[in-house]
Symmetry: C2
Subunit: 205 residues, 2 copies
DNA sequence: ATTAAATTGTTAATTTATAAACAAAAAGAT
DNA sequence: ATCTTTTTGTTTATAAATTAACAATTTAAT
C-alpha cells in the first residue's frame, strides 16, 4: 500500500549514513544502487521524483541529500510510539537500542496482565485502559500492536479511538481501520512461507 | 522481489483457515477480498493464476482451495529453521508458539556469546561455529539473522557457506548474497518511518 | 420452461513500476 | 581550445500489477 519509492528513499538514507560514517562526502547513483540491490536508473528516478539533485559527473553530495531526505521523513521531530502487548515481542522491542538514532521513541507500554506491568522496565507501563489518557497527554500518533491474534482488533480499535494514525501490527490478522489510519503488518511466518515457496521453486530448476 | 500474488496467496490461506474454523465450507471472492483489503477481481485473478477454481454462483470450496494452496506452499513438509543471534529478538522468536501450526520449526539457535548459550531454552543452542555441522545434519534450508548490524553480513556468509537458501534478516543492512540465496528483510524502524511519512502527509490534507 | 440474479474466470484496458535510451553538463585529457 | 569520458536527469519504452468489463454458467424464482 505504501509506495515503493518512499520505501527505497528510507533505504537510501541508511546507506548514505553508512557512507558518510565511512568518511565519504559524495556518492554516485551506481554505488547506492549496488548497495540496496536496484539499478542506478532506479536511484536517479527516485531522486528525481523527490527533487533530490546531484551534480553531473560529480554524483550526489551526501550531506545535502541526507538533509532533504530527513526533511521528507520528518526527522526534525522525535516520533513517539506506544506499544500494546508486553509479551515476547513487546519485551524485545522495549529492550531494543536502535530506535533512538532513528528519531523514534517508545514512550509507553500497555498490557492487561498485571504481572507484565510489575516488571521493571526501561519505559513506563500501564494497563491498557490508560491508552487514551497517555496518547492524549503525550500526543502520540504511532502505535505497535504486539498482542495475541484474538486481542489484536480490539487493541486496534482502542488505538484508533485514542487518536493513533499509524499502526505497526505484529499479530497475524488483517486489522480493520478507517481510511485515515494506516497499518503496516509484520508477518514473520508469512515471510518464511514466501521464502519456502521461492527457494523450493529454485530447487526444481 | 517476491511476487505480490504469492504473498497474497499466503494471506488468503490464513483467511480461509479462519473461515473454516468459523464453520464455513464455502466462501466468495468478495468475502476474501474484504478480509484482506483487495478487490474481488484481484482474488479471482490470483486464484486463476494458480489454477484455483471455484464454482459459478457457488463460490470456492474452502477445503479444496486450502488443499491446493497447501501444496503450493509445501505444507506437507515441516520446514526447519535455524537462528543466528540469541539476543532480544532471538529470544522472542524462540519463545514464539506460532511456528508449529504453520509447519515451521526452529531447530537450533546460535550465538558467539557463551552467556547466551548457557540459558536453558526450548531449542538446542550452539556456538556459531557449529552452524555448518547442524545445517548439514538436520538438512536445514532456512535461517534467521538476529545479530547486530556489524555481524550480519558475516553471519549471512556463514549461512550461505553452510547451504542455507532462504534468509529472514532482522538486521538493518542489505545483505549481499548469490542469486540462489533469497533474503527477506524485516525492518521495524523502516516500517515506522514509512508510517510517519504517510500519516504526516495525510495530516496536511 | 423462461427469466432473473449471482458469481466465476478470462480477456481487455488502465495504471503503476521498472528499465532503457539519450541529451546535457561537467571534468579531465590531449 | 577541443575532444573524450563520466554521470546526471529526463524522456521514452517495456514490463508488471491492478482494475474493469463481460461472457459463461449455475441457481433460484416466476
Ligand atoms: N514472539 C514472536 O516471535 C512472534 C513472531 C511472529 C508474530 N508474533 C505475533 O506477535 C503477537 C505477540 O506475540 P508474543 O509472542 O509477544 O505473545 P505473548 O503471548 O508473549 O504476549 C502477548 C501479550 O499481550 C497481552 N495481551 C493480551 N490481550 C491483551 C489486550 N487486550 N490488551 C493488551 N495486552 C494484551 C498479554 O498479556 C501478553 O503479555 C502475537 O499476535 C503473535 O502472533 C510474535
Ligand atoms: N530487538 C528489537 O526489537 C529489534 C528491532 C528491530 C531490529 N532489530 C535488529 O535485530 C538484530 C538483533 O537485535 P537484538 O535487539 O536482538 O540485539 P541483541 O544485541 O540483543 O542480540 C544480538 C545477539 O547476537 C549475538 N551475536 C553477535 N555477533 C554474533 C555473531 N557473529 N554470530 C552469532 N551471534 C552473534 C550477540 O551475542 C547477541 O546475543 C539487530 O541487528 C537489530 O538491529 C532488533
Amino acid at each position: 500500500m505504501i509506495k515503493k519509492n518512499i520505501q527505497r528513499i528510507i533505504q537510501y538514507r541508511m546507506c548514505l549514513l553508512k557512507f558518510q560514517n565511512l568518511g565519504f562526502e559524495k556518492i554516485f547513483s551506481y554505488t547506492l544502487a549496488q548497495e540496496i540491490g536496484v539499478s542506478p536508473e532506479q536511484v536517479r528516478k527516485d531522486f528525481s521524483q523527490f527533487h533530490l539533485r546531484g551534480n553531473k559527473k560529480a554524483g550526489y553530495l551526501i550531506q545535502d541529500i541526507l538533509d532533504q531526505i530527513n526533511d521528507l521523513l520528518h526527522k526534525e521531530d522525535i516520533h513517539k510510539i506506544i506499544m500494546v502487548g508486553l509479551g515476547n515481542i513487546g519485551q524485545a522491542l522495549i529492550k531494543y537500542k536502535g530506535f533512538a538514532n532513528r528519531n523514534m521513541q517508545l514512550v509507553a507500554g500497555f498490557d492487561i496482565d498485571p504481572a507484565k506491568l510489575k516488571k521493571t522496565c526501561r519505559i513506563p507501563t500501564f494497563h491498557s485502559k490508560e491508552i487514551p489518557a497517555v496518547v492524549k497527554k503525550e500526543n502520540v500518533r504511532l502505535g505497535i500492536i504486539a498482542v495475541p491474534e484474538a486481542a489484536a482488533q480490539e487493541a486496534c480499535n482502542t488505538l484508533i479511538e485514542a487518536g493513533i494514525k499509524g499502526i505497526l501490527n505484529f499479530a497475524p490478522v488483517m486489522l480493520k481501520t478507517p481510511p485515515d489510519v494506516v497499518v503496516q503488518n509484520i508477518s514473520v511466518c508469512g515471510e518464511l512461507e514466501a521464502l519456502v515457496y521461492v527457494t523450493e521453486k529454485d530447487k526444481q530448476k
